[in-house]
């Protein structure tokens, strides 16, 4: 029978000083698994096969790991001030690894590299690479860069970041917050983007639908591409953009009916809205393209 290390009191969490309206509430309990001094720009490599990994960036030059590790598993933490590795040792051949819960507080400027099999990942004010085979990934707060990938799990990004790359296979991919440059794609999962802050973006799917709802800043450049997914753009009525829409076998629906296409070919349409200050390209093979004004 699995034995889980007993939870400690909340005193150390209070000492950790994690607070603020936007920050996740600190855990009320959790055994301290390890702690050490860590430089702000340090790299942190984390592995946990199952359970969860929760990452919280803080304004301190230290690392604190709390959580619960199954008795059959071993927690490790090693490295220097400029880089550490931590996590739960992978037991070779274990088809259903025990769930271990890790909560990691680390300097907000650190760059993480997190990998899990089925464990879900949640991160706040943390930058770096996040990967899971089947676990869901949820990233929020502020980050210098985000590279997020889950094979079958859902990915949710609600962060402010100058650079975001996100990939899913069958899982949904939802992006909100204030990213600037975005490269996002799914295979068959839904790609849902709701943001007014994106300046450059490439959104791609194979069979998954793509939905974008947001403003288009002057000078912004967007590229949408899907094989058979439906691409839906919901834009403000006063948007200023030039849109090149083309579908080989799909339909094109233009909900801005009061405007006239600048060029019209079979299954392709070039539309100028307002002064045409942003550039949008949409290509599909057989997925429909829907252009709709925001209500």
């Amino acid at each position: 029978m699995r034995f889980v290390i007993a939870w400690a009191g909340a005193a150390l969490v209070t000492a950790a000083g994690v607070g603020g309206a936007q920050r996740p509430a600190p855990d009320a309990a959790g055994t301290v698994l390890g702690a050490r001094r860590l430089a702000k720009g340090a790299s942190v490599k984390i592995f946990n096969p199952a359970g969860s990994v929760r990452l919280i960036g803080w304004a301190r030059d230290s690392l604190l790991v709390r959580g619960a590790v199954a008795s059959d598993d071993r927690f490790y933490l090693a490295g220097t001030e400029n880089g550490v590795k931590l996590g739960v040792e992978d037991r070779a051949g274990a088809e259903n690894p025990d769930a271990c819960e890790l909560v990691v507080y680390l300097p907000a400027g650190a760059q993480v590299s997190v990998k899990t099999a089925s464990a879900r990942i949640a991160a706040y004010d943390v930058s770096g690479w996040f990967y899971s085979v089947s676990g869901a990934i949820d990233v929020s707060g502020t980050a210098s860069s985000l590279d997020v990938e889950s094979m079958t799990g859902a990915v949710t990004i609600g962060a402010e970041s100058p650079w975001v790359r996100a990939r899913t296979g069958q899982g949904s991919l939802r992006i909100s917050g204030r990213p600037q440059d975005v490269d996002a794609s799914t295979i068959s999962g839904l790609l849902d983007v709701t943001s007014d802050a994106i300046l450059r973006a490439q959104f791609t799917s194979v069979t998954g639908d793509i939905r974008y709802a947001g403003a288009l800043a002057p000078g912004a450049v967007f590229d949408f591409s899907s094989h058979s997914g439906v691409v839906t753009l919901v834009l403000p009525r006063d948007v200023s953009a030039t849109l090149a829409l083309s579908s080989v076998n799909g339909t094109i629906e233009n909900g801005f009916v009061s405007t006239h296409p600048a060029a019209l070919e079979r299954r392709s349409e070039r539309v100028t809205l307002g002064h045409g200050e942003a550039s949008v390209t949409v290509r599909t093979f057989k997925g429909a393209i829907r252009l709709r004004p925001r209500r």
Partner: protein, 187 residues
């Protein structure tokens, strides 16, 4: 990077450095990428600047090779992403319709086909030892992408001069490379 890929990259670099007075299509193709090549930072080229990230050592060579192909693909897919200025769509359409652009797209598709084959071979072992759930997911994703590629190839046979089809095909190969990289990451 393999010698073949290096040679291919050199060819493209030479092509881009060549005076283009007689080829306005190439002249307008993504000056940002050309300037990177001139600075000798071609390896950094991608749709969006990519920060350093963890890459499994076993596939470093394969990924680097794939990135070389991505450089080629960037000529056709991502040029517009590398220039913040709102390029006139009419100009983009003119480039797309040009024979030079079609050739570039063809070359990038071929490069992607080759790189995916290389990656598939190298990742065969990694794929075999994936957990069942992950293996099923990978097989599903590859089947979806391969089905799209097959449909696009059939359409290209019927409409060989349609640049949109070739761009979609190149995008599908990029998706396939992403799936293969996920196999490497899952190992």
């Amino acid at each position: 990077m393999t010698r073949t890929n290096r040679a291919r990259l050199d060819r493209y670099t030479a092509e881009l450095r060549r005076p283009v007075d007689g080829d306005p299509a190439l002249d307008e193709l993504w000056p940002a990428i050309r300037s990177r090549l001139d600075r000798g930072t071609a390896g950094e080229t991608s749709v969006i600047p990519r920060p350093a990230r963890r890459t499994p050592a076993v596939t470093v060579t394969a990924i680097v090779a794939a990135m070389a192909a991505a450089i080629v693909l960037a000529f056709t897919l991502a040029g517009v992403m590398n220039d913040r200025s709102p390029a006139p769509m009419v100009a983009v359409a003119t480039n797309a319709d040009s024979a030079a652009a079609l050739r570039a797209i063809d070359d990038s598709v071929r490069a992607y086909e080759e790189e995916t084959r290389i990656l598939l071979d190298r990742l065969e072992l990694a794929r075999a030892v994936l957990p069942p759930q992950a293996a099923h997911a990978v097989d599903h994703d590859l089947a979806v992408v391969d089905s799209a590629i097959a449909e696009l190839n059939a359409a290209i046979e019927r409409h060989p001069s349609d640049p949109s089809l070739r761009r979609l095909l190149a995008a599908s190969y990029r998706q396939k490379l992403d799936v293969l990289q996920r196999i490497a990451n899952a190992g």
